[in-house]
Amino acid sequence: MSVAGILGQLFALVLALLLAPLLTGWVNQCRAWLQNRSAPPLWQPYYTLHKLFNKDVVLADGASSLFRVAPFVVFGAMALACAIVPSLSTDLPFAPAADALALVGVFGLARLFISLAAMDVGTAFGSLGGRREMLVGFLAEPALLMVIFTVAMIANSTSVAAIVATLAHRDFVIYPSLAFAGVAFTMVSLAENARVPVDNPATHLELTMIHEAMILEYSGRHLALIEWAASLKLYAYSCLGLAFFFPWGIAERDNLLALAAAVPLLILKLAIGGFLLALIETVNAKMRIFRAPEFLGTAFMLAVLGLLVRLLLETRV
């Protein structure tokens, strides 16, 4: 492990922490443009975070220590996820830990804590949101795993770094299975990040909200951490998607120059991805909560199909 490697890893982490709110802001701005609203400034998430960090925390009467610990666990998990997803380089100190299955586990940990915390206070909305979150997660996780298996079969490894290395640095080959996996992954990401067809981050309508229902009781720095964690989650998923499906441009060495070269490309890809996300959110209507299982079932099915296609079309006998 070289000094440059450690520096590079730190750089990637700091970049993630800084870029994540910007990505959220960018998506919000694109959404506003597409919906003919006047857009909030690009820096709005930073202002919000700054404001929240400077406010006092108000705790509910029955809140246990779990309620207070949860934001930190969630934030930590998401930061870890961002650090191990190879966004800039495949040869960073954390890369050996970047196992796709472990990543799913990290996301699962965050989900567990935020759901428990939501139920902790004992309000109706909290437990409702927590239950819905678990329902979505319960359906999204297998789909995500199937996507990962499909991609992992191509690289013969579940290590994200190895997958990226296989996909990005070989001859150009078209994998039809990746098309299936890509669609499935997009659907899972929408559900996991509380995006439009499944949830709407912009409303507090009690009948439909999932994510917002869970965090109603949070305030001050706790809320800031959770909001930041949500941004990081979006960033982590985006990077994961880019790593699986558009891996070109990710550096393979740990020297800082290569990293620096990878940064503008990453920002460009994220900008395009964010715009597409806003587009999806604009052209789709939020579906009833009971349709969410169907939506995620379809995602799961597509991922399975991808796996099957991979077996039939792409394996040489």
């Binding site: 078209i174 039809p176 098309a179 379809t298 099915m301 399975v304 199909l305 079309l313 792409e314 040489r316």
Partner: protein
Amino acid sequence: MSDVPLSAQLINLCAAAILLLAFAMLAQRRVLQLIDLFALQGFALFLSTLIVAVKTGQTHLYFSAALTLALKVAVLPLILRRLVQRLHVKGEVEPLINIPTTMLVGIMLVVVAFNVALPIAQLSATITRGTLGIALATVMLAFLMMITRKKAITQVVGFLAMENGLFLAATSATYGMPMVVELGIALDVLIGVIILGVFFFQIRDQFDSLDIHHLERLKDH
């Protein structure tokens, strides 16, 4: 995988797209969108045929690609759309079985189809042998769609999607059937759809609906 020529990869991609669209059609509840998906599937079929034509240089494949484009992408969807408008088919197609269940059955069918096609794929000399399994799966999915839908018009779309699957098998897996045969098949399909169009009007006149549950009176007592 990397030593497979680009053309074969592209054909595989088209085949995968056709399968994906077959599933999308299975999941689609609205008639007009269903027709759009069908047209899209036709386009993927056209692309794959075109690639095969370029690859093998057989003139008659260019012809059949053009035929696919004209028929499956332009004419048939147009006829179907006109029919839907003139017959005032209501937007939603209620399936007989709910969609998630249909999807699960669909997955099983794909597994079966792939399993059946696998030993054949291993024998084939053509690189795009895998498409045979996809074609079989598409045929089976279209069949499933015909079974699970109530509206006459969706049954016809299913029938045509089935034809798409067969065409995929004929062009991609085997690099083209003899010209006479392809022409004949295309002609049959076109005439079939025209006859069905006439039929719809008669069915609607007789039953005031295009729901095929009206067509269940003939039974053995």
